[in-house]
Symmetry: C3
Subunit: 117 residues, 3 copies
Amino acid sequence: MPQGVIANGFVFLSAIRGVNESRNDLPSGVEAQARRAFEISRHILTEAGSGLNDIVRIGIYMKHLQESRPGFNKVWTELFGDRGPARFAVEVTDIGGAGDDTELLLDIIAVVTNRPG
Amino acid sequence: MPQGVIANGFVFLSAIRGVNESRNDLPSGVEAQARRAFEISRHILTEAGSGLNDIVRIGIYMKHLQESRPGFNKVWTELFGDRGPARFAVEVTDIGGAGDDTELLLDIIAVVTNRPG
Amino acid sequence: MPQGVIANGFVFLSAIRGVNESRNDLPSGVEAQARRAFEISRHILTEAGSGLNDIVRIGIYMKHLQESRPGFNKVWTELFGDRGPARFAVEVTDIGGAGDDTELLLDIIAVVTNRPG
């Protein structure tokens, strides 16, 4: 499955999780995972002629909404300040691989601002 | 975080919950919360040059899907009749603030029909 | 509610479940439901001047994420090979009707490639 699909001036990203570069393990805690998730997003978006500041909507799926929100919001504020994409967050019973430590999954829509390179 | 983000002729709303104007409490029950959620949506959409009838897709997240659907659908029918946006509804384990009475959260995409005012 | 809403070159589908033609029962198991879900999607998309290969993003909601993913991916690979839409999958506590056997629900966005017929 592709990492991002471009259509009509938007790019739709497949599920973003904050995995380490090895793609086989996850840093511990939602804050580290959120940082990695946005690093990965930035890379995919840049390839698509977009970027973090071009994200228009993020669906945030967490395993532990109340516990994870403060750490996630800390990273969010560092990246976006008091602006940023439209967003919503919900807690679900499972995301990621069987029994792994995925704490969050992002569903991202961005606009394409540059011709993809 | 913004209440709505405009891009390429669409407006993406951040999580809509049916909070009272004080923003600190919630009316009791899904029907009252749905009414408030659509009032809030209407206000944000109007600011963006859109409106309730310009919504094209709603993701509906509920804490109690089966119990809440009839009350939600009552409000839906009043607003949209037998037409309306594309929609889906799922039950999740948590939305909103810690221990509050949020019964539903809406993830809304609409089209911009007027130049934002 | 409509099966699909067209706006700005996209079509947004309402919740797709893998129900049988009677609309009253569900085939057993996620693989059969996934096949039916994509058959139904294909029909609605074709009516809208779109098609399965024009899907750009799928949100996948499952009752049993780990158990269902292999069967779902089998159908996915048959339809899309190693390409396909952007996607994410999460496990939620309820979808579909009260006590029924709905195993998955799809939230689909596609591009309109032909004038709707």
